[in-house]
Amino acid sequence: MSIYLDNGATSYPKPESVYVSIAEYMRNNGASPGRGNYSRAMEADRLVYMTRKALCKLLCVPRPGQIIFTCNATESINMALKGYLKPGDRVLTTSYEHNAVARPLKMLETDREIKIGLIPSTPDGVSDMEWYQQELSKGVRLVVVAHGSNVIGCVTPLDEIVSAAHRHNTPVLVDAAQTAGVYPVDVTSVPVDMLAFTGHKGLLGPTGTGGLYIREGLELSTLKEGGTGGMSLSPFQPSDPPDRYEAGTMNIFGIAGLNAAVQFLLDTGVEVIREHEIELAQFLMDGLDTVPGVTYYGPSSAKDRLGLVSFNLEGQDPNKVAIKLDRDYEIMVRAGIHCAPQAHHLLGTAPGGALRVSLGYFNQREDIERLIDALREITYS
């Protein structure tokens, strides 16, 4: 049986209820939410609302209208950055961002002449807080941080980042692509201003789903305008969220799946999932320690990291190892730069990158045992 260890890219498998919910909706409803006055369209509306509400519960968001549906974290981040930043603005960000943050910022550097400051960091992903606080006092319009790195596996201390930024009235945008669903996220107790998430990773939903939380009182200019179902006579986009930001027919099949997925997470409990991932990650790191020539990156204790570990085998091209693992052992891991070149520069692993094992709730110890056995065979061959 094949072993899937690339949950950081997208989670697999999904809870059974996700498959059932999508198929059920496709077959038996199929209507577009927000459009039409027949009962099935009303049911579709309710489904979208219930999904927002479930996400509110999971992420501690006060009101459903503060969750904007998008097609992934990348769209959410683009919506936030391009809707908020103005020409000449200064932005601070970490040294381990995914391209979903780094590239839109680079584009805005050219288009709007924004200035980007990278918070210096150790290879373990520990940011230089003194530097950060000093820079904040010079006037910063937005702080953008990944909650968890998809390469290093480190977790950003959001409370410290947010409280320092708020002392200077600087809002914080968080990229929770790697944490939502697998690590506690609470936008009420740590009052981030915007939080981007994707539906298909830790949230266990289908691809093509995601969202942006925007705190009450913060208004972004829109990335797109178009039909919202209501107020169709008005030539302008509605001013209130979520409709303000949700032009166009939404991915209702995806949302049907996401609704079931988030319900699964709420029923299971993020703490339970987190515990499982800590246990597996520690088991994985202990196993890697027994493979000759392995260097793994990021925090050394599983409690301080996400359930993903990047590593290299001495003298081996990570890409070739990944291909061998797949072809000879049916084990799927991800090799390369993981869309986060800055993180690999920090680790000193660019340009070849590293191998990344990213665990999920449905992985078991046996999966890791088989991976470690395979890696041992590869190193000895």
Partner: protein
């Protein structure tokens, strides 16, 4: 649970405020039984016991309930509609569960004359309430289409006595 669900039948533009919506919905239970209790809870309710109908305003949203039919007016979008339905369902169920603690009110409050209201207002015509003048505010309050709280001047200390009289006239916490 007394009220299991409220299903939306249709959503339309609001005639009074064309930038808002109205919805027709149907409750899974007939709500006549709890109307006298709701009536005693809302200062702005209009209750007709014989017809089995009640109308009240909360947070600028208008609710009209006739038997198991509920119309909701002046919400901004469908997300807000569903939030309001959740709120209403909880309110109905909480009211039902605590009905032994609430004194039911079977009669409709008498309308308070516009001039009586007007004479107690600050008469600055400052429009902070969102109305064109204090007289329009008085007329709206007479129809229970605005809340006393909408006039911020009435909350200033020098208007405490006037505000109390107004609240008293509307049968609230006097």
């Amino acid at each position: 649970m007394f009220l299991q669900s409220i299903n939306v039948l249709d959503v339309d533009l609001c005639v009074q405020q064309p930038d808002k919506f109205v919805a027709h919905t149907r409750a899974s239970a007939d709500l006549r039984e709890i109307m006298p209790y709701l009536n005693s809870m809302f200062r702005t309710s209009t209750y007709n016991h014989d017809a089995g109908s009640i109308k009240f305003t909360n947070d600028k949203i208008e609710y009209t309930i006739i038997g198991d039919k509920i119309n909701i007016a002046k919400f901004i979008n469908r997300t807000e509609l569903h939030e309001l339905l959740d709120w209403l369902k909880d309110l109905v169920n909480d009211t039902y569960d605590s009905r032994s603690e609430i004194i039911p009110m079977y009669v409709c409050r008498k309308p308070v004359p516009v001039l009586f209201i007007y004479n107690l207002l600050p008469k600055t015509n400052c429009q902070q309430c969102g109305e064109k003048s204090c007289m329009v505010f008085a007329a709206q309050l007479n129809k229970l289409e605005i809340d006393i709280e909408a006039c911020p001047i009435l909350s200033e200390p020098e208007y405490t006595a006037n505000r109390r009289r107004l609240e008293g006239a509307f049968g609230a916490f006097s």
